[in-house]
Symmetry: C2
Subunit: 766 residues, 2 copies
């Protein structure tokens, strides 16, 4: 009978347990074919089997649909189930927006606490403290009697070297206290809350409830460090998504469905971090969603919008905008300016490549040496150095977001910044020369010196700070570095144009007295370029920055810079910082963006190869329980192919180690007469056995009857494609219908490392 | 030898022809293993084998990379190859932007030609004609001596029943002439240019050079019909992409790579059609790109931007915007208004469902009856009816884009439209009461009557016009229907609020004299809802309309309406109009959005089933050429599985019918001694034959050694997933390593129809 069990009832728990269907009446389920508790779940840190999870969800959906008409209660349940997807993303959006608002406000307050305190109301930050004071002029709006610096408060004097040292000391003191608090909280409560969170989101590591409150809390405390809050806000949003998904069985019990919520949550996170809802959706599409881009698009969009609206209602910056550094420019750009923009792109790419190498080298050292054993000490040291070096320079002392805002903003009549001190303004001859086409005054030159020093400082500190055991982002520091470089280039081009109006480069479009160069735009282009160099994002980055400026006009400079930065960065190594950290942490991650370009075949990658011991396989009906257990104990594979017989080597299915172990334990507990010499069979009907043999053990219910197979001649590029697109964990290799070997995700990653001339053993897997 | 040919050289032309590799020196290629010309190409209208095409491209890439270092010329060629992707999307963007500008201008001119002509310069449209005239006041800016209506020109008088009839006659005359010209051009030159073009883009049907010029030309001529130009602009952009891809061998020779260009081109098309570059990218992602969403994202974005910039430089509407109906609103919306917005969404969904059913029924009648044989007559009839009914009503007489603009625009002090005649304005008591919170004057009521009639007219005509043999879009007419309905609802709510300020609904937020309802916003929400009901787009639609208004503020009403409209529409049938037309035309299209929710297994779908004749298979080394040819001639399958032997049924590979035929012809022409009783073999080495047998024919080079297989127990949901994600054409079904049957895309579509209780034979395939 060639067709085998085709005409009898089928049972394929592993992939899809069918409970409805025409043929289910022909054969009653016996005890063993009921689902065994525990079968089909995951150990921690295991890769998700997407195919299985999807099937589980469709099965659940079918069950609810078929029950729907039975009663009003079932109908309500089915409605709840259908709406739970929208509910969970709405809740996630609401929570992330609210948390982002709280974090923005608290971070502002904490940051100002390093400088002083508001006497009239302790809970006001510097700006709020001075809102009520009518006695100050507009130019001195930062100075009001209610706001006391620490020197004023403790020493009673605002000026002089003594108070400077006092302020310096208090700044460092608060910085160290915050750092100590943050790292202790993380260490005690939330080991996963450290880092930027984005690699974890990309990788789909699970979040516990604890991480949410801890991330938020320690996030506030660590904002004063060199690093920003944008990455952690994504993390916070994902924590919210994870928590809310526990409320709905549809999401809590299915890892693949939970990933849909996380994908929407990451869109909400970017949306509130940058005030860019559409950019957030594209970010989630470009970086996070591998297996379901279209399906989650709509919900991601909704979550991003809800979060943005909540944040705007909270209005943490008092400007009716979602971010501090929203800007509008009014002058167009000219074709020639593409040249400095591309230069900024080159800088961004170089910075990205340098940063990734240096940061990974440092993190590897931290991982491999004794040094990594003292995370608290490391954080305190970094915080102390940051505080001590940062204080004297006004551009490093202030909040990084505020620095970016200052660098982005164009000089206008109300700008009191040092960066806007141009000569004609100083002379008082004109009300204001609109920033451009004026000789720079000494204030600008000293600002440029300070900015250059700030640039060097930030470049060095960011390398050591990213990867610390505190929640910290990378977006804001990268943007700050790019903005500083961009502003410097912008001012240089501006002065060049001012002194050389007659050069053929400027003659055409930059007349005397005309306002032709916008240094703020250079800062923005530089920020985008540096962020692009580090993360290698493209479309989502341009859209995020586009949403910050709100003008199609400036997309071309942004694209030119981001593209250049990506190409320059890719020339030194194709991995972005998140992929590099994922690899560093040894997760088996198959990057969807990297193309596999080698000509190897499946048989060159599969195991066993050459001198390897033969593949551990099970036969479908002639093994005893003792043989099965010895195979399980002697090998460490996660699963075993099941074949017809040793002679024919024809493949029947695949059984997972975890499921076999659980099934055996379950049978021993529940069934009488299972002994070590019991025959184990995976077929539909028990094999004919001698009369005195013990009761056989049927394991068909845990057998995956539809394992993925490829032939040994299949090019690896196709195999890699299948793994990526279907989210497989393993794939069996056959030749002319006979089982030859197995390829796992880790085999593929090792092979890719080998092809890239790396030592395959250098890849560690957790 | 179980490992078979594992240690010898491999040759797998079908999927990936390896020309480099370590083992290639062990075995010299013989004559037959050289690529046979014609093998690996497609017949017309065949489904693309994505896996094969991708492999071909990677192989080409590897070849270029390996040659790169040989000479400067090869290096230049490799650079050209690397840049050709960017070049082709840039060219596509430039061309689509320019063509869109030309089409916009020409369409404007042609549309005005129906009313009259500019005496001072024939090539000016009405607005341009009156630009120079200083003598007219602002209110009468449409009337100037240079512009003559046909009645003025022919009869010499502008008023009176005679001139009305004259204008009526000329309007109909021009309409008929344009319709006749358009349909004749399409019939003679460009059979593919008819219809909206979007289903063709979704389906990836190939475009010829002719369609471009013809689409553009006939598009201009048919704009006056009820239908819009947006769909055809996508078509035009895709034609440009297709033409430019011929310049680059990388794209012209690979159908899969060409689809990447088409995907970018469709983004450029939407970008210029709606002035929404980001919306265009999302459209291309949501509707067009199935197999490469991330990879083409960046290039699509670039193409969309280039096209938008070119169009803006051309500035066809004189408003520095990409579209005629760009609007900015200044009043916020209130929570209560969500109720009418959702009502508009319900209307949009109902309209969408009704339109799809009615239009498909009409198109089916056209296809199946004698009626469809006279496309020219049909077009002329429709055009005549349109012109005759449209002329008396000013809202149907004018250009549909202009109607939408008028409906979207809020009443302001400069608005002279009938829709803005409110009582206090008429009395002259105030300069202008800002549209809202004023009693409607008779002008508004008569406008509402005319709009209602226009709504009915447009609903009826759109059903009959979409699907005619002229290039025509659906976006603009759908938007017009929604905008009319929305404006009517908006005015109704506005008047309700005016007369009932004290209702609890309005008391909170709509004070006397306050400007609380924006009827233009209702028009926009209605337009989005109707478009959503017809196309079932979601995110891209909201982003497109968001880009038209430029304010995050109004996204929530838009989302509410679009979501409602999609849900209401889906309740009547899940297909959008494009999917419905694709199905109507009988293309084997596996929609990525529809979930497969049944519990069937692969063995229930595969052929042969039940009483079918056994599957036509080839054996690897014991068939003669005559046997092979008789199998080919007796069956109509596109390909044949190759097995080890009839007894074992173990699968070796898959050979395509087309390739076998070509290879046999090639061998007959080139090789001596190939006779009907020649043995055909697919193995690496020739089988041992009796001494007197003729020369055997080796066909290994056309054998696909890595066919996709699934087991008979694989749930169909997984099979459908594999087909969608990998873009397969067929898949073989095995049981315990033995070949059982085959599943093709058409089998899956038939099965899905059967599961949906449709007659599977009702699906016709081209």
């Amino acid at each position: 009978d060639n067709m085998g069990p085709l005409n009898s009832n089928h049972c394929f728990w592993q992939k899809c347990k069918s409970t409805t269907g025409a043929s289910s009446s022909t054969h009653l389920l016996d005890l063993l074919e009921e689902p065994i508790p525990g079968v089909g779940t995951y150990d921690d840190f295991h890769t998700i089997d997407w195919v299985r999870e999807k099937c589980k969800d469709r099965e659940r959906h079918r069950k609810i649909n078929s029950k729907k008409k039975e009663s009003a209660w079932e109908f309500t349940k089915s409605l709840y189930d259908a709406w739970s997807g929208w509910l969970v993303v709405t809740l996630t959006g609401l929570a992330s927006g609210a948390l982002a608002g709280v974090i923005d406000i608290a971070a502002d307050w904490l940051n100002d606490l390093k400088e002083g305190v508001c006497l009239s109301a302790m809970w006001f930050n510097h700006e709020q403290c001075c809102w009520d004071s009518n006695e100050t002029t507009f130019a001195e709006r930062d100075k009001c009697p209610q706001w006391k610096t620490w020197a004023e408060l403790i020493l009673g004097q605002a000026e002089g070297p003594g108070s400077y040292i006092m302020n310096y000391f208090m700044f460092t003191f608060w910085a160290l206290s915050f750092a100590f608090l943050a790292v202790s909280l993380v260490k005690v409560f939330a080991p996963y809350a450290c880092g930027s969170g984005i690699p974890e989101v990309i990788l789909n590591i699970t979040y516990t409830e604890k991480t949410l409150s801890q991330t938020a809390l320690s996030l506030i405390l660590t904002l004063f460090l060199c690093l920003g809050k944008e990455g952690p806000l994504v993390h916070v949003a994902c924590c919210c998504g994870n928590i809310f998904s526990y409320l709905f069985p549809k999401y809590s019990k299915n890892e693949a469905k939970k990933r849909e919520v996380l994908s929407a949550a990451s869109a909400a996170g970017v949306s509130v971090a940058f005030g860019a809802p559409i950019g957030g959706v594209l970010f989630s599409l470009e970086e996070v969603s591998y297996y379901f881009p279209l399906k989650t698009l709509w919900r991601s969009f909704f979550a991003a919008l809800v979060a943005a609206f909540v944040l705007r209602s909270i209005n943490p910056f008092g400007n009716s905008r979602l971010v501090l550094f929203y800007v509008e420019y009014h002058t167009p750009w000219y074709l020639f300016e593409l040249f400095p923009f591309i230069l900024l792109g080159v800088f961004g790419g170089l910075w990205g490549a340098f940063f990734i190498r240096a940061n990974i080298a440092w993190c590897r050292r931290r991982k491999s040496t004794r040094f990594g054993k003292y995370p608290v000490l490391e954080v305190i040291t970094v915080a102390a150095i940051t505080a001590i070096v940062a204080f004297p320079n006004p551009y490093t002392r202030q909040n990084t977001s505020e620095l970016i805002k200052e660098l982005f903003t164009d000089c206008g009549p109300l700008e009191s910044s040092q960066l806007c001190q141009y000569r004609s303004q100083m002379n008082g001859s004109q009300a204001y020369p609109a920033g451009s086409d004026a000789a720079a005054a000494p204030g600008v030159y000293s600002a440029m010196w300070q900015l250059s020093l700030a640039l060097v400082f930030k470049i060095i500190m960011t390398i050591f700070t990213f990867g610390l055991k505190v929640p910290s982002g990378l977006f804001i520091p990268s943007m700050a570095i790019g903005a500083i470089a961009g502003r410097i280039v912008g001012i240089a081009v501006e002065q060049l144009a001012y002194y050389h109006h007659d050069w053929f480069l400027f003659r055409e479009w930059c007349e005397v007295g005309a306002d032709c160069i916008t240094p703020g735009l250079y800062a923005m282009v530089g920020a985008a370029a540096c962020l692009g160099g580090v993360t290698r994002m493209t479309v989502s980055l341009v859209v995020i920055v586009f949403e910050l400026t709100g003008g199609l006009e400036y997309i071309v400079p942004l694209m030119a810079a981001v593209m250049t930065s990506k190409w320059v960065g890719d020339a030194f190594g194709r991995e972005g910082i998140y992929e590099a950290h994922i690899r560093l942490n040894g997760y088996p991650f198959l990057d969807a963006k990297e193309e596999f370009t080698h000509t190897t075949l499946a048989r060159e990658v599969m195991r066993p190869r050459g001198n390897d011991p033969p593949l551990a396989v099970l036969t479908q009906d002639d093994m005893t329980l003792a043989e099965l257990q010895s195979i399980i104990s002697q090998t460490s594979c996660n699963g075993f192919p099941v074949i017809v017989s040793k002679e024919s080597q024809r493949l029947v299915g695949f059984a997972l180690r975890r499921d076999i172990t659980i099934a055996i334990e379950n049978a021993r507990r529940k069934q009488e007469g299972i002994m070590l010499n019991s025959r184990v069979y995976f077929t539909q009907h028990a094999p004919t056995l001698p009369a005195d043999s013990p009761r056989p053990l049927k394991l068909r219910s845990i057998l995956d009857m539809s394992p993925f197979t490829v032939t040994d001649h299949t090019p690896m590029e196709i195999v890699v494609d299948i793994f990526r697109k279907l989210g497989l964990r393993q794939c069996l290799v056959t030749h002319n219908g006979r089982l030859l070997g197995i390829i796992t995700k880790k085999d593929i990653l090792r092979h890719m490392a080998q092809m890239a001339n790396q030592d395959p053993e250098s890849i560690m897997f957790n």
